[in-house]
């Protein structure tokens, strides 16, 4: 019985901390930008599913309705934030494009914030064969 408890505890210790830390950091970063936890929703994330070079990956985020801001987050880069964009009245379409770094294969998360306070998020899996030079 004791041995079993030890094995379970050791497995939990070995498996949990890293995954939880990145998830927590990701959630904290999203909450810091959006003000609260977004619900799941529709957002278009255009990015290559299979990326050969993680140093400059073109990505486009588009919402289907007017938004006041769009942001992009990654769970497995050294930092969760990628870009926070905010839109003024003269913006014609709720979308923007940029080029990002990807340290490894992961599920990137886009978050939208509407002027009335609603926010929602969507994710997209990306496979990276050559990672960006962000490892220490």
């Amino acid at each position: 019985m004791k041995r079993r408890e030890f094995v379970l505890a050791a497995a939990a210790l070995a498996a949990l901390p890293e995954a939880r830390a990145t998830d927590d950091a990701l959630r904290a970063a999203i909450r810091a930008w959006a003000g609260r936890d977004p619900e799941a929703g529709a957002l278009k994330i255009e990015i290559a599913e299979l990326v050969e070079n993680g140093n400059a990956v073109p990505v486009r985020i588009a919402a289907s309705e007017p938004v006041s801001g769009l942001a992009l987050f990654t769970p497995l880069n050294p930092e969760p934030e990628v870009v926070h964009a905010s839109f003024g009245a003269a913006v014609a379409r709720p979308e923007f494009s940029t080029r990002m770094r990807l340290a490894r294969s992961q599920r990137i998360v886009a978050v939208a914030r509407a002027a009335d306070g609603r926010c929602w998020q969507a994710g997209m899996d990306v496979i990276v064969t050559l990672a960006a030079c962000v490892e220490p």
Partner: protein, 107 residues
């Protein structure tokens, strides 16, 4: 060293019609996670903020982080009803600062 920026705008813009703005500035976006040839860590040096103003009114802004590629590129869609001035500004670490303005030919 003079900073170079490339801004792409349509030659002719119709009043009220959406047009795409693309802006890139030359910058290494050093993450602070890389080591140089001598093994020493390269200090973080990022462009932190991009702003685009239409006749002085803020229309698009972006906070950039280490996960944005070198020579940060942003594209977005605007709408203008009359000829206007579009100004761009980039601000970053170590006092990095670059500004550009473009005249919009709205017909």
């Amino acid at each position: 060293m003079a900073t170079r920026a490339v801004i792409t705008l349509p030659v002719a813009i119709k009043a009220g019609e959406p047009f795409e703005v693309r802006a890139t500035v030359a910058h290494a976006m050093e993450t602070g996670y890389r080591s140089g040839d001598d093994g020493a860590r390269l200090a973080r040096d990022l462009v932190r903020r991009f702003e685009c103003r239409l006749d002085g009114e803020l229309v698009f802004a972006a906070d950039l982080f280490a996960a944005i590629s070198a020579n940060p590129y942003l594209s977005f869609w605007l709408r203008a009803n009359k000829p206007a001035e579009l100004s761009f500004s980039w601000r970053g670490d170590n006092g990095f600062s670059h500004d550009e303005t473009r005249r919009l030919n709205v017909a």
